[in-house]
Amino acid sequence: MKHRTRIAVGPVQFRIGSSWGAPITALKRLYVGYPQDAGRPADATVRLFAARPWRRWLRPSVHIGGDYIVPDALPLPLSMGLLAAEMGMNLQVALGWRRHLLLHASAVAKDGRAVMLSGESGSGKSTLAALLGEGDWRLMGDEFTLIDPGSGDALAFPRAVSLKNEAIAEIEARVGADRLGPLLAGTPKGDIRYLIPRPDAIAAMHEPARPALLIFPRFGGAPAIERIGEGEAFVRLTEASTNYVALGEAGFGALMRLARETPAFTIAYPDSASGMAIVEHLWAEALR
């Protein structure tokens, strides 16, 4: 393809190609601080291409492709090319990765131990991880956490954090403009702005962390904490994994161990401050 770049996030080396220059330029800016290793073979390929050759000029709209495609994925206008690239990177990892168990979960770490927050879009897992990552936690990732089937360790996947809607203002108040991508207003997911993780989080992205706490957050309602059993944690984790079935017994073993060895809780919280306070409280309890 005409425009291309390579980006290494945690254990995944992406090769990204695009019919247009703009999304690649925007990606290069977001990932400028990430380690470069152009000699390493690519693990996943993302392609952003025009639906018909002439559409590249006439009414540019971006189709997302790569090693895996979702047939009914909607094309996005070129102004959202960065979103398309990020969605493409997510998609390739979610569908194609086999080396680790992939969990739809954000994660932060301290002293080599990880807190994982697993939930659907809108649960606030991304926002909580981003806010904690601006404090004394190391951000491991806002969307996916990888579990090593051999060791049981959590591995970081610190892509640029996808801030949505109200979360954008919360983070804008805390970080400089140099850490933020352009505002993508009115996307199918609402307003989106990417946050570049702190340099220390990027530098530590190859350091594994021991899972210490599993949290299933729900945004809204009065603050609540409920301990859940190993069985329920296991079921929720199978639902949170995009490649559990593909991994076969290795995935079964990894999830089993995670559910058995890691205290798990569901929480509800009305705002970010109380969500962060609950995470800190559970962390203090887990350390006892």
Partner: protein, 93 residues
């Protein structure tokens, strides 16, 4: 008509892992995960002593568990065996 006979999965076919109140069973043949509760794991274990029908299995289980007050044990075990066969965890002979 005689009660159906059931046989356990072959040795090593199932990986059975207790998980709190549940038991997770990974079937290496189908690569499927099943989550079950009592008495399913107990029935699977008792069937490993050899293929049999529900009445024989009820007698085997009565050796290890107090089944008094459990109603028609033979009928209940017959239903559970049918369900286990539906999941592919046991096989009707």
């Amino acid at each position: 008509m005689a009660d159906p006979q059931y046989r356990a999965a072959g040795e090593g076919a199932l990986r059975v892992e207790p998980l709190g109140d549940l038991v997770a069973i990974f079937d290496r043949r189908s690569m499927q995960t099943h989550l079950v509760v009592a008495p399913m794991p107990e029935i699977l274990a008792a069937l490993e002593a050899g293929s049999c029908d529900a009445a024989t299995l009820a007698a085997r289980l009565a050796n290890d568990f107090d089944l008094s007050g459990e109603g028609d044990v033979r009928a209940i075990i017959g239903e559970r065996l049918e369900e286990l066969a539906g999941m592919g965890l046991v096989e009707q002979v």
